[in-house]
Amino acid sequence: MTPTIPPHQLQLTPQGQLRHFLTTEGLSTELLTEILDTAESFVSVGKQAVKKVPLLRGKTVVNLFFEASTRTRTTFELAAKRLSADVLNINISTSATSKGESLMDMLWNLEAMDSDMFVVRHEASGAPHFIAEHVTPTVAVINAGDGRHAHPTQAMLDMYTIRRHKGDFRNLKVAIVGDVLHSRVARSQVHALRGLNVGEVRVIGPKTLIPTDFDTLGAKIYYDMVKGLKDVDVVIMLRLQKERMQSALLPSESEFYRLYGLTTEKLAFAKPDAIVMHPGPINRGVEIESAVADCSQSVILQQVNYGIAVRMAVLSMAMSGQTDMQNALEGGDA
C-alpha cells in the first residue's frame, strides 16, 4: 500500500528533534518538557528591557492563515519578530483559492520567495501536514490550527500554564469542558497531557458534543459536570460557538450554561486551589460565569502572556531542527 508518514513522525528529525510542529500527538515526555523549558527562558526575555533575541535573524517567517484569526496570527507575528525574523502575513480566504489557484500552486509561489518557515492555519484537517509533505524539505511548518485535528501551540501554552501554577503533571486531574467534538485544542491538549504523564484527564459535555470514541485518546468521558469536576486540579473551559445552537447540537445557550457553564457553585466541586483556564476568546455567561473568569483562580490572562514565549520556543526549536537536518545532509558538522 502507498506509505505515508503520519504527522507525528513527519515533524521529527532522525535524531528526534522538532523540524515541524504539526501535532502534540506522539511527542516524548522529554521533547514536550524541552519545549516547556525553552519557553521558560523566553518568558524571562519578555521581562527584559530588550525583548528581542537574534535567533531567527535573517529568516523569513510566513503567516499563512486560510482561516481568519487576529489573535493567533498576532501572537505568532510577535513571537517571530522577537526572534528577529522577518514576517510576511498572507491572509487567504478559502474562496480565493477556489477561484483558481490551487494550494499546491500557492505553495510553489511562496517557495520561490525563499521562505524559511510557514505558520499555517486552515479549516481542513491535515492541511499543515499536506503542506509539510509537499514543500521544500528545508521549510519548517508550524500548525496554527487545522480543522478539528490539532492546535499544538495552544496546547503547549496550556501545558506551560499548568506547569507554572501546578508543577508536576503526574499528580494532577485535568478536566476539559465543552464542545470537544469540534475542538482541535482539546485533542492537542489530551495528547500533550498524556505525553506529560498527567494523573488523569477528563472531558465533560453532552453526548452531542463528545465523540463516543474519545476515550480511545486516553480521556475519561463525563456527561455530568458535577461528577466530572470532583477533585479536579485544572479546569479548562472550551469556547462554545453560536453555530452549535443552529445545527441541532444544543437547544440553547441557557441550557448549556445551566448544565455545563462554569459557575462559582460548580467550581466549588473542584479542588479549592484548582486553576481555571480558557483558550479564549471567552463567552461570558455562556461557558463561564463572569465572576469565575475574573476570580483569583482564573489564569486566563496569564495564558495569553505565555503564548508568545511558547511560540518563540517552538519557532526556534523547529528552525534549529531544520538547520541541523540540512547540515547533516550536506555532510557539515556542528
Binding site: 500500500m1 502507498t2 505515508t4 484537517s125 491535515g126 499536506f130 480543522g147 482541535r184
Partner: protein, 434 residues
C-alpha cells in the same frame, strides 16, 4: 499507451490454458478456438481450422471477460479525468469486456442522446462495451422522473440515483414503481446525505483522532433499510452497489431470505481497506463509501463467500492529480480501480475465500446474468469475450503501469498476484501484453 485499432475477425487459438466457465460447469485444461468473432470450439479444433494467431496459455486461466457493474469513463464532461478511449483501453488491459457507466456524466445521462453518444464512442474505440446506466430522476435532481423507457430503448441496462438525494419517500416510491413498469433494474448506492459530510471518513477512533468529518455506518443502513422497504412494496428489481458494512450485509441477506429480487455487489478495494489506514491523511484512501472497520471488512468478505454479495465491481473513478493533491477533506473521493480489479479479486481465491469458479461467477457470470447480457460465459457459438489471466505472474503496481488516465490508487507499490495477458472483445484482441 497503445491507441492502435484492434484487429478484426482473426482466427485465434488459445492453447493449454485452464478454461473456467461456471455457466457450463467447465473447469479443465483445453484449447479454445475463436473464429468470426465467436467461440468456435473448446477442446478439439474445428474442421479445417487454420489459426492466424496461436496464444500459449500454459499455466494460465482462460475465463470469460469481466463484466464490471460500476466504472466511470468520465465522458462526456469530465475529460480532464479520463475519456472513453483511455478508460476502455484500461478496462481491456484489466480483463474487462463489458462495463456499466453511472449516469453522473456532464450532461447527466438522462437523455437518449447522451446514452447513444457513450455507446457510439465505445464502439469507435473498440476496446470494451460500455453499457450506460440511466438517471433515475431528471438531471439526477431527485424530483422528477426521467424518461426511463426511452433510456432503456437507448441501451441503458438500468437506472440509478447514485448517491444523490431524492426529495422524499413519495418521489422515490414513484420512481421505483415507474421503473418496475418496464422491468428496469434500479441500481442503488444507499446513502443518507444528511449524515455523510463531504470529505469524511468512517466515523470511528481514527476520524476522531485525525479530526476528520465522520460518516457513521448508519448513513448507509438508514438509506438501505428505506430502500429495501420500498423495493419490497414496489416489487422492483434492485441491485445494491458498493456496500460497506456488516450491517448492510445482514439487511441484504434478510431481504433475499424474504424472496425479494435483491442482489448486491461490493467494490474490490472495500475488501482490502480499513479506516485506520488513513493515519497519515493520505487522500489516496479517500473513497465513498468510506473504508470501515476490520469487522466490516471481514463481514463483507464473508458476504462475498456466502453469495449474499454475489458480484464484485471495480468502482473505477479516475481523477486528475490536482483532485487528490489537497488536504484530505477537500480532495475528491475515488480510486482508479481497473488495475487491481482482477488481481485483488483473484487474491480471494488464494486466501481460500472463493474457488476459481466462484471468482469467475462474481466478476463475470453473475453481473452478466443480472443485466441480461449474453456474456460472462464461454458458450460455444457465443461472442468471444474472454480474458487470459496468469495467476503466477506477480508484478508491482506503479504509476507507469497504470493504463487509466487516472493514477489515483492507494495500491501503488503493492504486489499484484496475477496479471491479464490477453483480452478478446467479440473475438477481436482488445488487449495483448508485450
Amino acid at each position: 499507451m497503445d491507441f492502435s485499432r484492434p484487429q478484426f475477425n482473426q482466427r485465434i487459438v488459445i492453447r493449454n490454458g485452464r478454461v473456467i466457465d461456471p455457466k457450463q460447469v467447465l473447469d479443465q485444461k483445453a484449447d479454445v478456438y475463436i473464429a468470426d468473432g465467436v467461440i468456435a470450439s473448446i477442446g478439439d479444433a474445428p474442421v479445417g481450422f487454420k489459426p492466424d494467431l496461436e496464444f500459449d496459455a500454459n499455466n494460465m486461466l482462460v475465463i470469460p471477460g469481466a463484466v464490471d457493474l460500476c466504472a466511470r469513463v468520465r465522458e462526456p464532461g469530465q475529460t480532464q479525468k479520463g475519456n472513453i478511449h483511455t478508460e476502455t483501453h484500461a478496462a481491456a488491459a484489466a480483463g474487462i469486456t463489458h462495463l456499466c457507466c453511472p449516469p453522473d456524466t456532464n450532461p447527466v445521462l438522462d437523455t437518449r442522446a447522451v446514452a447513444a453518444l457513450i455507446q457510439e464512442r465505445a464502439y469507435q474505440s473498440g476496446y470494451a462495451h460500455v453499457m450506460p446506466i440511466g438517471a433515475l430522476t431528471r438531471g439526477l435532481e431527485g424530483e422528477q422522473l426521467s424518461e426511463m423507457h426511452a433510456l432503456r430503448e437507448a441501451g441503458c441496462i438500468g437506472v440509478s440515483q447514485l448517491r444523490r438525494p431524492v426529495k422524499d419517500s413519495q418521489v422515490l416510491m414513484r420512481c421505483l414503481e415507474y421503473a418496475s413498469t418496464f422491468d428496469l433494474i434500479v441500481f442503488f448506492q444507499s446513502e443518507d446525505q444528511s449524515i455523510s459530510p463531504r470529505g469524511g471518513m468512517h466515523a470511528g477512533p481514527t476520524a476522531t483522532r485525525l479530526g476528520l468529518p465522520g460518516i457513521p455506518e448508519s448513513a448507509e443502513t438508514i438509506a438501505l433499510s428505506r430502500d429495501l422497504l420500498l423495493v419490497e412494496q414496489t416489487g422492483v428489481q434492485a441491485h445494491f452497489g458498493q456496500i460497506s458494512c456488516a450491517r448492510s450485509v445482514e439487511l441484504i441477506a434478510n431481504a433475499q431470505a424474504l424472496g425479494l429480487k435483491v442482489t448486491a455487489d461490493v467494490a474490490v478495494h472495500q475488501l482490502y481497506l480499513t479506516d485506520n489506514m488513513i493515519d497519515g491523511f493520505n487522500s489516496a484512501y479517500h473513497v465513498r463509501p468510506p473504508a470501515r472497520t476490520e469487522a466490516d471488512r471481514q463481514a463483507l468478505i464473508d458476504g462475498v463467500k456466502s453469495g449474499v454479495i454475489s458480484m464484485l465491481c471495480s468502482d473505477h473513478q479516475p481523477h486528475e492529480a490536482a483532485a487528490k493533491a489537497e488536504p484530505f477533506p477537500t480532495t475528491e473521493a475515488g480510486i482508479s480501480a481497473f488495475s487491481h480489479f482482477l488481481p485483488l479479486s483473484y487474491e480471494l481465491v488464494s486466501q481460500g475465500v472463493l474457488s476459481e469458479s466462484e471468482w469467475v461467477q462474481r466478476i463475470a457470470m453473475n453481473p452478466a446474468h443480472l443485466i441480461g447480457l449474453d456474456a460472462g460465459h464461454l458458450g460455444v457459438g457465443s461472442n468471444a469475450n474472454l480474458c487470459v489471466f496468469d495467476p503466477n505472474m506477480e508484478w508491482t503496481l506503479k504509476k507507469e503501469n497504470v493504463y487509466s488516465q487516472g493514477k489515483n490508487t492507494p495500491f501503488l507499490g503493492r504486489t499484484m498476484p496475477g496479471r491479464v495477458e490477453l483480452t478478446l472483445r467479440d473475438g477481436t484482441i482488445s488487449f495483448r501484453r508485450g
